[in-house]
Symmetry: C2
Subunit: 362 residues, 2 copies
Amino acid sequence: MTAAALSSRHPLDEEHLRDRVGSALAAFLAHQDSVLADIAESLLPVAEAVREFLLDGGKRLRPGFCYWGWRGAGGADCDEAVAAAACLELLQASALIHDDLMDSSDTRRGRPSVHRHFEGLHRAGGWHGSAEGFGEAAAVLLGDLCLVWTDELYFSSGLPAESLLRARPHLDLMRTELMAGQYLDVLEQAVGGGSVERAGRVLRYKSAKYTVERPLQVGAVLAGAGKDLLEAYSAFGLPLGEAFQLRDDVLGVFGDPSQTGKPAGDDLREGKRTLLVALAEQEGTARDARLVTELLGDPALDAAGVATLQEVIRRSGALEEVERTIQRLTDQALDALDEADVLPRAREVLRRLAEVATRRSS
Amino acid sequence: MTAAALSSRHPLDEEHLRDRVGSALAAFLAHQDSVLADIAESLLPVAEAVREFLLDGGKRLRPGFCYWGWRGAGGADCDEAVAAAACLELLQASALIHDDLMDSSDTRRGRPSVHRHFEGLHRAGGWHGSAEGFGEAAAVLLGDLCLVWTDELYFSSGLPAESLLRARPHLDLMRTELMAGQYLDVLEQAVGGGSVERAGRVLRYKSAKYTVERPLQVGAVLAGAGKDLLEAYSAFGLPLGEAFQLRDDVLGVFGDPSQTGKPAGDDLREGKRTLLVALAEQEGTARDARLVTELLGDPALDAAGVATLQEVIRRSGALEEVERTIQRLTDQALDALDEADVLPRAREVLRRLAEVATRRSS
């Protein structure tokens, strides 16, 4: 469909875009279904699992920032731009599937994680060998599949080749940064005793750049934006992305399981070295710092242990400081957005996306 | 460097190409080193591990078929084509790193596998948490990194955008087939009792298409080849790829560890449902079939167990039949190559690559 044919649609807001991203993903996955079915029927569970993972809601934040980055740079509304932006959801699916595997998480959005789902298929089938090993292998491969499909959706989106090739290095850098940030995250958990500074670096690369800044820039470069807008998007996107991740960190410790779809205190059990934890260690009493060392990352941490760590994080002032930081970063981002030379409707939606990213409860 | 400037180089054979693929990879990785170093110094071990994995020899078979597929289609010799072909080595590295993780293999080419290497770093550092878990996470992420770098090297190779975009769907399909084939392989090991037919499908998708047919076709489409040459490359590449994988299967059971860099009988311990195994079960006595069921896939299988299974595979006639099949498939491939409308020098080198692929001992 051409941009002209679509102009009557008025995708007024981010809710509408979410549906369109879902449709673009559904169309792409329907094509992949037939590719997989041509190879073997026994690939059906793979196609199904990817579809369930991708089409089961989600905030579509990264495609949102990419698409509105495009619109803000003067790109016309069109399904092609939505499809290109939707590829970031495949990247995110890959990251989450592999992340859940690395963290041995049992659930994702209130449902079994991919490795647990395939472990369940193995058990139900009474198959040979280790059910756990089968689940892990399936998760490695499904994550890989989503990762290679990222490019395929991007390049088959229908946007002009010139645009796609121009923005590609930004997409590449974004992915390298994501993998690097994830490695640093795992490394911090292993090395332990991380500083506030090191926690900040993980946050920046694993999440902040990847969630807001780079998607905005990919959208902008697709639309042919120059250096000034890219810098403006950084000035908006980097603090906002950091605020997004800090909100995530708070939810990982204090979130309501019925909203987050994750068990309470999951990040504490996994030993995530977040800024929240680093501040609690730095600002808390020596006794509290010892409690952190002792309890953080204990896979068997029970409700009482979670409550203890929550209390330590509260009374050290870390929670309050992180909440203040979220507010400060969000204000800084919104100020930068006011200054940015973007089209008015995009500014309005980006402002609302900033709300979604920082005030959410899931 | 332009094609013209290079025409005096006369890359006469596949050995020379191996060096050039190594150089292209080295240059690409040097660039990524600096990207990673800009993020954090602690990413150094990641960059080093990828470099060691990629620059430590290897047969460079897939880039070889891709490059000579290009030359056979009339593409001029140039560093750009070598760089584009070299991207397949990054894909292969990703597949091997993740494969070793899924198979819990301790070694690769006689050295620790990536997950074991990082497990060792964790132990040496006396870090927190599970050393095994850290090794696994690092291997997931390094494999992901190599996978995304596949595209980056492809698109930054310097070949004309038009060529790159034209061949991209073939590269995409190749990767989907690879992941699908790997899943089918894992599934066969789990479900067990696989038929000769099902073993053949795994072999085709996991390896045959991916190792020979698709690389040749990517090269051909990059050079602008038409349907006839793609079909001729299939007629050559598919049987050759199957022969390649059957040779691999034989080496996985009977290979000399000093040559393969893998412990003797590793495939038996991992429970790989190869054609060799399927034939032994089908053609052997009922008692031998029971021995296969009992011993195959036992992680603790000792030298005596390996010898027993080797003997079962021999006396069932499976080994002989597989060797005959390798010969038949290779002959079929070479006949197809004789018929194909490719340039003479490419035909000559492709013939030698076919030898390397099917008569190797490692």
